[in-house]
Each structure stands twice: as C-alpha cells, then as structure tokens.
C-alpha cells in the first residue's frame, strides 16, 4: 500500500512540472504582456519598461518560470498585482470557506444520491424506482445557480427561515456557519445527487444478480447486512469514481456560487482575480487547484484497491 502510494506520488511529479509550466506560460500569452495589467490605464513606454524590470520579465522565459516555480515549491506564490498581498495567504484565507462548501455539498450528494439510488435499485420497476429515475433526470438538467436563486427566493425572502447571503466561520458559530452554507450547498448538490443516484442504481442492480449475493442470502444474512456489506462494497467503484468527477466539477462551480452568495472563499477570489487581471493570483489558484485535483484523483484510485482487492494484486 505504501509502496503503491509512493509510486503514484512519483508519477505526479512530471505531470505537475508540465502543468505548472503551462500555467506560467499562459501569462506569456497576455496581449502586450502581463505588465499592461500593472502599468495603469495610459502607460508611457518608460513606465512599462520599469514594470517589466520589477517583475523580472526581461529575463529569459525559462529563467522566469524557474524562479516562479522554485519559489512556489517553497510556499512563495508571489504577490497580488492588486493589493500586494501574498498570494499564498490569500488562498489559504479563502480555503476553509470553499472546503466547507464542497464537503457539505458532497455530504448531501452522498446521503441523497446513495439513498435514492439504493431505494431504486432494491425495487427495480417499482414506483420508487420510476420516481427516482425521473428525479435524477430532472436534477441533471437544473442549473445549480438558478436553483440557488430559487432557494433564496423561497427560504430567505418568502419564508425568512434562512439567511440569504454571507458567511460565518465555523469557529464563531457552528449553527450560523451551517445556516449560511446550506442553501448554496444544496443548490450545488443537485447534479451530484442525480449522478450518484444513477451510478448507484446501475451498480447495485448489477451486483444484486451476482452469485455471491445469493451465497450471502443462503447464509441467512438479513437484508441490511446483505446490502450494507456485500452489495455496497462491490458496487462502490463506479460510485466513488462519480464522486471524484463531481468533486472536480464542484471546484469550478464554487466560483459562481461563492460570487452569488457572497462567500469569501477561493472561488470568489478567482472571480475577483480574473476580473482585475491579477495574474500572480490566477497562477497561484490554478496551481493549487491542479494539485488538489491530482490528490482527489489519487484518493479515488487508491480506494479502488480497497473496494476490489484484485486490483491491488495486479
């Protein structure tokens, strides 16, 4: 297991090098060069040259990249063009917010998606199955940000039971933290719920016809244990894969949700940085996002070995 982990971590290194190179290289594509973002609205050639010198843009490109990357490895992602704040601390500041949102969303997706998928799979063709299938199809097609708006309309404006927008840190008040996040998390969860429910239904229906399920039944196992142990572990691989894909997509979706709900997370920071052409910030966010997604993919891959011991053996 440890050796496998080590090997997988090693294969991430070249990918990370290429990805970081592309992230840095993206900035070279800025029309007129990144210095235009810093030099003000009507820059003189002298002013531009000065900014170029400050940013180290007169160095050969590879040297520039190496300076940036080696600093990044040591935790220095540079300074914001906009307010001079350290990129690293800005991202670290927003991270707990985004993480809270993503985890809450995945939790909702797990509970509702698994529940819906299982209910459908255990009674194929029943009204539960048909209802779950229709719900999944509809959820798949609802724009999450619009669902967020509608939830605000109903629960915050009409019923006044939930706050409309804003964020309260967990440490300050767990209840308020939850109440502020539940609306955006629920809206973000609708597509993952549908995807997870579909995958769960398909996987569980398949596993239920396997011979070893009949063996477990012949042992006298009761349904809860039969499904909870023997069926779920075998049905897990496609479901966990779906979770990985959805987690990846969620990171993108937080950009919109945090903007709509005024949540001070990395998503809102991304939006602000793109709008203000804050290139060091954009680079830093892209790099951190890529690393996070690599780790999510790694976790999903490693879980396969747990759910299917045969994979580990090969």
């Amino acid at each position: 297991m440890l050796r496998l982990l080590g090997a997988r971590l090693l294969t991430m290194v070249p990918l990370l090098l290429v990805v970081s190179f592309l992230i840095y290289g993206l900035i070279a594509l800025v029309p007129g060069g990144p210095e235009t973002a810093l030099a003000g609205s009507n820059p003189t050639p002298e002013k531009l040259a000065m900014v170029r010198e400050q940013l180290g843009l007169n160095e050969p490109f590879l040297v520039q990249y190496w300076n940036w990357f080696s600093a990044a490895v040591q935790g220095d992602l540079g300074k914001s063009f906009v307010n001079g704040q350290s990129v690293w601390s800005a991202i670290a500041g927003g991270f707990p917010v985004t993480l809270s949102l993503v985890i809450l969303t995945l939790l909702i997706a797990a509970v509702l998606g698994l529940g819906l998928g299982l209910a459908a799979a255990l009674r194929p063709g029943s009204w539960i199955d048909r209802t779950a299938t229709v719900i999944a199809s509809l959820f798949m097609s609802l724009p999450y940000f619009w669902v967020g708006m509608m939830l605000v309309l109903v629960f915050a404006i009409d019923l006044r039971v939930l706050p409309a927008i804003g964020y309260v840190p967990f440490a300050q008040s767990p209840t308020d933290w939850f109440l502020h996040l539940i609306t955006p998390a629920f809206a973000l969860a609708i597509v993952p719920v549908a995807v997870v429910a579909r995958q769960t239904r398909a996987a569980v229906t398949g596993v239920m016809t396997e011979d070893y399920v009949r063996t477990a039944e012949a042992k006298g196992l009761r349904p809860v244990r039969l499904v909870g142990k023997h069926v779920l572990k075998n049905a897990a691989v496609p479901v966990v894969t779906a979770f990985g894909v959805e987690a990846n997509r969620l990171i993108g979706a937080t950009v919109v949700m945090e903007q709509l709900f005024a949540l001070p997370g990395v998503g809102k920071l991304t939006y602000f940085s793109v709008f203000s052409r804050d290139f060091p910030m954009v680079q830093g966010i892209l790099l951190i996002t890529a690393i996070l997604i690599m780790f999510v993919n790694l976790a999903v891959d490693l879980s396969y070995g747990y759910f299917n011991p045969k994979i580990k053996a090969t």
Partner: protein, 317 residues
C-alpha cells in the same frame, strides 16, 4: 496459486448445466456491424422511447421559437421602456420587464439564440479538435497516442470552468473567446471517447483483414471507423451541448461572456439576482428556459444511448 481450475467444464455433450432462473446480462458483440437499415431501425427505437421523443420534440420547439425570435417576439430585445420597468407578468409583457423596462419574453427568445449558438460553437470546436485527434490516437497508437493522452490528462487536471475563466483572464472577456476556450477544454473529453471507440474498432478482426488486403486508409476510415465512432460521438455531442449551455450561462452570469446590451440567458440571470426581492419573475423565467433546453439535450442524449444499445456504452467507458 493457479487459477485455471474450474474455467472449463467437463460436461458430456447432451447435458448442460442446470438452468438458473435468474436474469443474466446478455452478451453482445463489442462493436455493432453496419447493417442495412441500421439507422432506420435506430430511428424507430428512438421514437419508441417516450422520454427521448419528448426531448426531441422539446428541442425542436426551442430551436424554432428562438431562431424565429424576430417573428415571435412582441418587442425588440433592446427596446427600453422606463415607465414599465421591473413589472411582473402583465398582458402587455407576458413575462414582465427588467430594470430598464425591456420585455423579458423578447429578451428570452433573442437571448436563446445567443446562448444556443454559443454552446453550438464550443461543441463544434471540441468536435473539430477531438474527433480527428481521437481517431488518430486510437488508430495509429504508439507515440501519437501517448502524446495526445498526456495532453488530455493535462487539460483534465483543471475543472472546465476554472480553466475557461483563466483563459478569459488572459485574452479578455467576450462570448466568442470564452466559447472557443471552452471548446478546447471540452475537446479533451471528446478525444477520450472517440479514441476508445476507435480502439475497439481497430482491434476488430475485419480491420486487420482490410489492412492485409491493402485497402486504402481512406476507405477504412470512411467505411469502418466513422460508422462505429458516430454513435458515441452523437451521444457525447448531446451531453456536451447541455454542459456548454450551462457553461455559457455561467460565464455570462459572471459578466465574462455576453456583454451588455446583448441578451443571453446567462446575462439575464446575472442581472436578475440583484432584483430578486422585488421582481422574482426576472430570475424565474430564464432559469426555466435553461432547464428546458438542458433537459431536452439530456433526454436526447439518454435516448441515443439507449437506442445505440449496450455496445456503445462499452466503447464509451
């Protein structure tokens, strides 16, 4: 530990193992061969699938009313009428008006043109890149395959939305650039599907046979590979259109895509959230339009997938 025991049975010829009354998955060939009337058969199966048919009809209606917006819309999308601003549904404005008194129904119809055309643009670009490269990688294999796979790995290391808005940060906002970037990002997804579908065909014996007889590469491509790559391509295109529509809406909602005064479903939603307390209808109707269009793409995609059958689903994975 040897595993070969038990793989073959030792039954006498007339007697086979006991029947089990449990349903088993039917076995189908990995690749469907082209048959006469195959597409006719397909169309019948698609039409027999009620949700798919409903999706097709819905899509057709949406296309007709948006493309025919100049005929159907009661006002022009930019017609400002401050006196009637922020009204809910009235006989004059069926779906109400926005902060500048512009008619929501008219803006929805014209905005649909913009949103749907934008998603079609990005999917077209994804197809132009993903289809040939997918066939190339799947058919040639070796070096090109390795290289293209790594490239798609890298593109897939970022969430599509994050990568697209990062590109916007560099080249500047605007719907066309946004959709071109999105198309490039989506091409990685299409590439994978096409590559694995090509790989399946390539491994089929009859392709090997055609190579040995010396059939020109173009014939193999047109007669053998394209027909087998088409089903997963069409399915992916339907689902990608749904994703691209959502992405257009997202990007325009954030103010990075369609810029004022152009109406798109996304920019309408973006302006609507500010007014949601007073005029909720502004947010409700564009959302319903987006949901219906997405639903129609998804239903058509599901229907195609079911009509093409299991074999395609395998190729997709």
């Amino acid at each position: 530990m040897t595993q070969n025991q038990g793989l073959h049975s030792t039954e006498p010829p007339i007697m086979t193992a006991g029947t089990m009354p449990r349903p088993k998955k039917p076995e189908e060939p990995a690749v469907r061969r082209r048959r006469a009337g195959r597409f006719g058969q397909l169309a019948r199966r698609f039409a027999g699938n009620k949700p798919a048919l409903a999706g097709g009809v819905l899509l057709f209606v949406i296309l007709v009313v948006t493309m025919g917006a100049p005929l159907f819309a009661p006002y022009t999308p930019e017609q400002i009428n401050i006196a009637d601003r922020l009204s809910g549904p009235t006989p004059a404005h069926w779906l109400g008006t926005d902060a500048l008194g512009r008619d929501t129904l008219s803006r929805l119809l014209f905005g649909g043109q913009v949103s749907l055309a934008a998603s079609a643009l990005s999917v077209a670009i994804a197809t132009l890149i993903g289809l040939p490269l997918g066939i190339l990688a799947g058919y040639v294999g070796r070096g090109p395959d390795w290289l293209l796979n790594r490239a798609s790995d890298i593109l897939m290391t970022f969430p599509a939305l994050v990568l697209t808005i990062a590109i916007i940060a560099v080249v500047g906002p605007g719907l066309t650039t946004a959709m071109i970037s999105l198309g490039i990002v989506y091409s990685a997804r299409l590439f994978r599907v096409i590559r694995s579908a090509t790989l399946v065909v390539r491994q089929e014996v009859y392709i090997e046979a055609s190579i040995s007889i010396g059939t020109p590469g173009r014939t193999i491509l047109l007669r053998r590979i394209l027909p087998n790559v088409l089903p997963p391509l069409l399915i992916q295109i339907s689902f990608l259109l749904a994703s691209a529509l959502l992405a257009e809406v997202t990007i325009s909602l954030l103010g990075l895509g369609a810029l004022p005064p152009t109406a798109s479903w996304g920019s309408m939603l973006g302006q609507a959230f500010a007014e949601i307390r007073g005029t909720p209808s502004l947010a409700v109707f564009p959302g319903i339009a987006i949901a219906l269009a997405t639903l129609s793409f998804n239903l058509v995609g599901d229907g195609l997938r079911d009509s093409f059958g299991r074999a395609t689903r395998k190729a997709e994975g």
